[in-house]
């Protein structure tokens, strides 16, 4: 059993109380949201991507436990400036490592919610004309290599 001190480390509580980029992003190009029906955690992510697929701005909003909200804050903080290819390569394991404290399988779901939302957001353009960044077209190798 993970003891209480283990998972609510200082920097986790810092992100919970003083989150990075929490709120809506004006001029977002991509967005997605999802929830974890089991516990009700919700995360929304807004992204502003350049035409060649670089994250210039990332914001989140949501509701839920410390783990789900603090990990979302850490995630949007860490992805700014990253390319789409780098985002796609950012694995669930990377996400858990970014969070830090070791989590039991049930709490890992809380931590991975924002990661799942991000992986969908990069395929979810707000303006369909931006579609060249999303969907299957960008799973090809060319875009990643360009950036």
């Amino acid at each position: 059993m993970a003891s209480e001190q283990d998972i609510y480390e200082e920097h986790v509580l810092d992100h919970y109380e003083d989150p990075y980029h929490r709120g809506p992003l004006n001029g977002a190009t991509h967005a997605h949201e999802a929830d974890n029906p089991l516990c009700g955690d919700q995360i929304h992510i807004d992204l502003k991507l350049t035409p060649d697929g670089k994250v210039v701005d990332a914001w989140f909003d949501g509701e839920g436990c410390v783990i789900s909200q603090a990990s979302a804050s850490m995630l949007v903080e860490t992805i700014e400036g990253k390319t789409l290819e780098e985002l796609q390569q950012f694995s669930a394991q990377n996400m858990l490592a970014l969070f830090g404290p070791k989590l039991t399988p049930n709490r890992q779901k809380c931590c991975l919610l924002s990661w799942r939302v991000l992986q969908s957001a990069i395929h979810s353009p707000l303006n369909p004309s931006d579609d060249e960044l999303g969907g299957p077209s960008f799973s090809g190798p060319s875009l990643g290599e360009e950036s």
């Binding site: 998972i7 810092d14 992100h15 109380e17 516990c39 009700g40 839920g64 903080e77």
Partner: protein, 420 residues
Amino acid sequence: MPTLTHCRDDFPILQRSVADGIPLAFLDNAASTQRPQSVINAITDCYERYYANVHRGIHTLSEESTTRYEKSRTSLARFVNAEHDHEIIYTAGATAAINTVARSWGNENVTANDTILLTIAEHHANIVPWQQLAASVGCRIEFLPLQDDFNIETDAVRSALERFQPKMFAFTAASNVLGTTFPVTEWTRLAHEHGSTVLIDAAQSAPHQVMDVQAWNADFVVFSGHKVCGPNGIGVLYGKEKLLEAMPPFLGGGGMIRRVTTDGFEPAELPDKFEAGTPPIVEAIALESAVEYVTAIGLDEIEKHEQRLATHADTGLRQIEGLRMIGPETRDRNGIVSFVLNHAHSHDVAHALDASGIAVRAGHHCTMPLHRALGTSATTRASFYFYNTMDEADRLIAAVAEVQKKFAPTGRKRQPRSSG
């Protein structure tokens, strides 16, 4: 003040400690209770001495198992005060029992023009089977809303019955979240006056309150063994003889037939008609031990003890600033106490309480429509049983106050991420 704490010695699992040697405070009894030694012994005794399949063998063990299995049914009929033993059908649990009624009675009696009336406080087990029925026959489902005081007035029930003229009114005798209990006999009488059949979900009342299906005059009553100190994998469907006889069998297979030919089958009599396949034999025998155990303590005593604990916890928790109690303030309630904290999500509360050795449940407790109506996605629930103590209620209050403090904003500042 009488206490039931001596019962704790009967429960091996309550002797264990968790989290660095702290004694376990098990306050998740609405999800499932623990078992006394007598129930555990009944299980091993059966497997060690006389286990065999029932209703099949002409050998000693099968005869003995069959006798014990049917003796259990007689005891359960007495436990709920059924008129006939064969009105007790063993199922896999409350969920399986409601599904049996929704499929068998529902398919036979409900058409596209009919309405099923439920309350918004129902467990998913008493919603989804009716939604499945609606998907197949096209009937409507209406939900009685909750009032601000977490109750449903009988007047609201009466007007809903008048307005919707439901074919079936299915409701819980006691909410698994709110601690609210409903006046079962009165609602059943009203429903019958309006021509509705009644199913009562007694999953949260059977373990805590005396049950009398004849006084209730209910048509169907369901509950699960594992919430009343019994084994899991078994539950009871009580149905009035006339209704059960008119219903087609739900599951088909061995045991539920009188005869089978290549052209078809002839169903067996009650109760076998609804017990296809090898039934939960050991579970039934152990369930008899469980209801004997709680009956010996006395359900009236159990109910009073739990109310004392829940009232104490409720009063103490309400003192915590920023805590919203999800349940009625009146004492007309059961041993369930649910709440939300403004500073901490229920998941974090349950996690932190676990570190203090206190087991509670966090989430929606299989009542998503209720939580939506309450405007929250998750609550923390402490649920008491007769083996819980005042000391455990005090530990709960103190630990929740501690959690609320721990997660209160303190002006923390995030360290800018070190690059590279």
